[in-house]
Symmetry: C2
């Protein structure tokens, strides 16, 4: 068969397979090759806590086997293949078999980098000790799982959503877990300090100790294994396993070495066509930065739905480039949610801290209201914070915390924030009301009215 063009997609977790499949859909005559340095592609990294908890083998998180993907999508898949270097302007790629070490050069018309992000370790002593883990890949998941035993002491550093989920999974696996939440803040960055600290008491379950300290070093035994951690309160916490859940960083080296520019967030800078500044090179997924529509700032939003969306845009443009047709990415209104320890927390748009940082004149209102009519099963108090811009009352962000109904309600705010709604208008929305699922006046409505009163007392 004669191909119309050849497209290399580098990175096989989420954005890569999505981009490869979309490129092939866009131009069925193209040769599309997906490169992955590890042994698996297309897996659900967000379900890793199930593996750590036990009962779900990491293999179950794989959405497509390599061969299945090839057959179903018409894409060539090369696992165990590292792409060492690309020169997109010269249509060259250098690859290496990670098992045999054999390397070779290949020609491609176009390149899509989907190298993702890596979990980072803090810059502390012995951060790479045996039994000191990060959690990002299926290998990480298996490593943590096989290290945890009932009764074993585990320290989880960081109370972002990964830290919370890993801590909960380790508790369920029977470990005695210490969760380090610096400053006593739960979900910092997603929740403003008031809610982040108010949430701390909810992270209580048997087998878990929450401490408001920061990890400052790892102490190892003579064999180089984790023995304890030290904190900024000069406390020593004995443990056999440490999990760092302290953040991720975009994996940009392959693209930057080919000349791609980094943006203000530290991730790859791309146009709204997901094009880098390098000829023939597009990028997508957790390695790129995106425009946050609320404040027009370029930010790194390593969330799966965003990865899928950028992948589709990158692939359509790469596959149709030079042959008409284009697809634009119209930015992100960040939205995330977590459900752990029996509570739900969600955050959409900007926190007050982010709004202030962007120089917006903003204020926050906090309300608490029933998630359902209180006589009904599952009803509980839901805390809602709205972040609102003065003087017009534009909704900039929402944070919701409660045992019930936080995550799905957050979705309601996504289009409102994206469309720059003023809070007055929420007052005119007709939300569903049915006692077993929602109270007559929805918490979102109550929050809007509180914001209106604050804006125009």
């Amino acid at each position: 068969m004669r191909y119309s063009q050849s497209i290399a997609v580098i990175g096989g977790v989420a954005a890569g397979p999505a981009a490869a499949a979309e490129a092939k859909r866009t131009d069925p005559d193209a040769r599309v090759v997906l490169f992955e340095r590890g042994g698996v592609i297309s897996y659900g990294a967000c379900e890793i806590p199930l593996v750590i908890e036990g009962g779900v083998p990491s293999q179950d998180l794989i959405l497509f086997g390599a061969q299945e993907f090839e057959e179903e999508k018409g894409v060539e898949v090369r696992i165990w293949t590292n792409v060492d270097r690309i020169a997109p302007a010269r249509n060259r790629l250098w690859a290496r078999d990670t098992k045999s070490g054999a390397s070779w050069e290949e020609r491609f018309d176009k390149f899509i980098v989907a190298t993702g992000a890596v979990a980072t370790r803090p810059q502390v002593e012995n951060a790479n000790a045996k039994n000191a883990f990060v959690v990002r890949t299926l290998d990480d998941a298996d490593a943590v799982r096989s290290s945890i035993q009932p009764g074993l002491s585990v320290v989880v550093a960081g109370a972002g959503y990964v830290g919370l989920e890993v801590a909960e999974a380790a508790v369920r696996a029977g470990a005695r877990v210490t969760l380090l939440a610096p400053g006593g803040r739960i979900l910092p960055g997603y929740l403003d300090d008031e809610l982040a600290t108010a949430l701390a008491p909810s992270v209580k379950t048997s087998g878990l100790q929450l401490r408001a300290e920061r990890l400052t070093s790892v102490v190892v035994d003579p064999a180089g294994r984790v023995q304890a951690v030290m904190t900024d309160a000069r406390e020593r916490i004995g443990c056999k396993v440490v999990v760092f859940a302290t953040g991720v960083a975009p994996e940009t080296a392959l693209a930057t070495e080919a000349g791609a520019r980094i943006g203000e967030s530290g991730a790859l800078r791309v146009t709204d066509s997901m094009k880098t500044n390098v000829p023939n090179l597009w990028a997508c997924g957790d390695c790129v930065e995106v425009r946050r529509v609320v404040d027009d700032k370029n930010v790194h939003v390593p969330l799966s739905p965003v990865a899928y969306r950028t992948a589709r845009v990158a692939a359509r443009n790469a596959a149709s480039s030079g042959r008409g047709g284009s697809s634009k990415f119209d930015g992100v209104c960040p939205a995330s949610a977590v459900k752990v320890f029996g509570f739900e927390a969600a955050s959409v748009g900007l926190t007050l801290a982010q709004a202030n940082e962007s120089g917006l004149d903003a204020f926050a209102v906090d309300i608490e209201h029933w998630s359902r009519v209180k006589l009904y099963p599952g009803a509980s108090r839901l805390k809602v914070r709205f972040v609102v811009e003065r003087p017009r009352g534009r909704l900039l962000g929402g944070q919701l915390v409660g045992n019930d109904g936080a995550a799905m309600r957050a979705n309601v705010l996504v289009p409102l924030i994206r469309d720059r709604w003023q809070i007055d208008r929420i007052d005119n929305l007709d939300f569903v009301y049915n006692p077993p699922v929602a109270p007559p006046l929805d918490p979102l409505y109550i929050a809007a009215r509180a914001a209106i009163r604050e804006l125009r007392p």
Copy 2:
């Protein structure tokens, strides 16, 4: 004390108390009087199924006692007081004590009618037999409750949300229940026929028999008590209790006798200020019709959140009329949800049938997708139907049915439909993704993409 003005509010269930309180807030110097012909005001009629089920006394549904409301809101409350007639243009009202029968005339500057809607009985033989009930008021709830016993045969006629909820409550109270759902349609009017009939198998629980027939008459014993019902399949179903859940009608007599006009829906016609055509007369709640923003049609939407919103607008305008300031009601995007028999169903905007009826060129797409990541507790298949207008792809309505996550997702569609979004734009929304609460691609997103494919194959 000298009052600035006097305002009579007639009807004490939901819109009435809301209007009275808002009128007093708008003009604290006004004398505001709330008239209610029964003995209680301000109750949650939607929680009546709990009373029928047992364990919750009907008194618990009362939000404010009359005296408590007076003290807290500064409104005079007259219970057991029927308003027989009003002459707003002449500032007159004729009231009657329903216990003593004493009647009198009073002067008011302004009038707000919030007379609500009544549950209707079908025009069939013996519809008013002993033990043949409707369910609308607390008295109805108590009457049904005290008639139902474990093992007793009960027929519920109508499978709208009231019928479903009453049937479920009666089953929980131990009754043997037959639910008559004409045509086998569950939630007709809220769900198009395809979903309405597909839902029928979900309405299965021990103690309940679902039949696709329509009730044609009630058979009574010599004492005039219910003995059986006959159906349009000429079947006789023996039973001791019948509950009609066949619809409601706006209670408009008081206003129309004063000269108020009825609109195309049969409810009171009002302006967007909730003003009737009669001088000094406003109306709100379940007795008025409202503009459905999706197709600009005037319709009767007897839902609690709409009642509250219309009440606030009516009250602000009545209280501030002649002294500047006005408040506009900007129509309704109908949204409703129900949770019964372990499933949730929700409907927003127009069904395909309603869209066709309004002469819109519309089509429907149906998808099914996971409500959460399928490995997680609570995950189940969610059916979503989008109703979309050709040729541009405006979203006209959404229907969601499943065991999980239908109702809250429906709320997401409310602002989209109100703002005349095209489905392409849903493709750009970032919904929250977290395995225990939502899959990576939300069902709403999947439905949008299906609609896009249908629109532009």
